[in-house]
Symmetry: C2
Amino acid sequence: MGITKTNLFTKEQNELASLAKAFAHPARIAILQYLLESNKCINGDLVNELKLAQSTISQHLRELKNAGLIQGNIEGASMSYCINPKKWGIVQELFNGMFDRFANCEPGDCC
Amino acid sequence: MGITKTNLFTKEQNELASLAKAFAHPARIAILQYLLESNKCINGDLVNELKLAQSTISQHLRELKNAGLIQGNIEGASMSYCINPKKWGIVQELFNGMFDRFANCEPGDCC
DNA sequence: ACTGTATATTGCAATATTACGATGAATAGG
DNA sequence: CCTATTCATCGTAATATTGCAATATACAGT
């Protein structure tokens, strides 16, 4: 039916999936990489960087903002976006919490 | 138009996004967690674990397999799935490569 | 060969995502 | 006040995802 049954899963599972969804588009990865690289906050000259329409980029920025991955400050007529440091750390921990659970696998154990 | 313009982005950006997409559903997170927890390979009693139809779970397993995150071995009549150790390491590195780029942010720098 | 079990595939309906143009709201600079 | 710039939102079209029932395939045991 095209609707995800969130109620069947744990809070952590839904949160991880939701964050992964925010990462699940190359344009959003590109935006994050641009923000990570420039370190300082960036306004919407992403429109020149990526070859997407302004409205499309605005939509991607909103999704990243909804996920809490980035913040936006009004700076005159333009908008200054940047990584949300607190959330970034939490996200990293969440993902590594999953990644690191795979540690003690002997070759013969499985696969 | 609903189609992602992959040609506009780098290989790394598309790869990260594609992997994130594989993670972007709580059922798939749950499957991975189950595999991580049981360590040993697992067949499809995920159907009992998750409350989803067998065909739905098979579909999620296929997506995880397509992403290279898991492997499946035939074991008699049933199927034995498990984490793909090699890919798992690569994925972890890819994500941490992104996460770790955010290091030197001074509070006044931005945000 | 027949039956039951386990898994994959197909076809469909409901919903979500992606992208863009057009429009709106706010600010900066005359 | 007028205009250009910057960004957000709305409406819409194209495509993707999610989920299930029904069906197909493959093996195991009798």
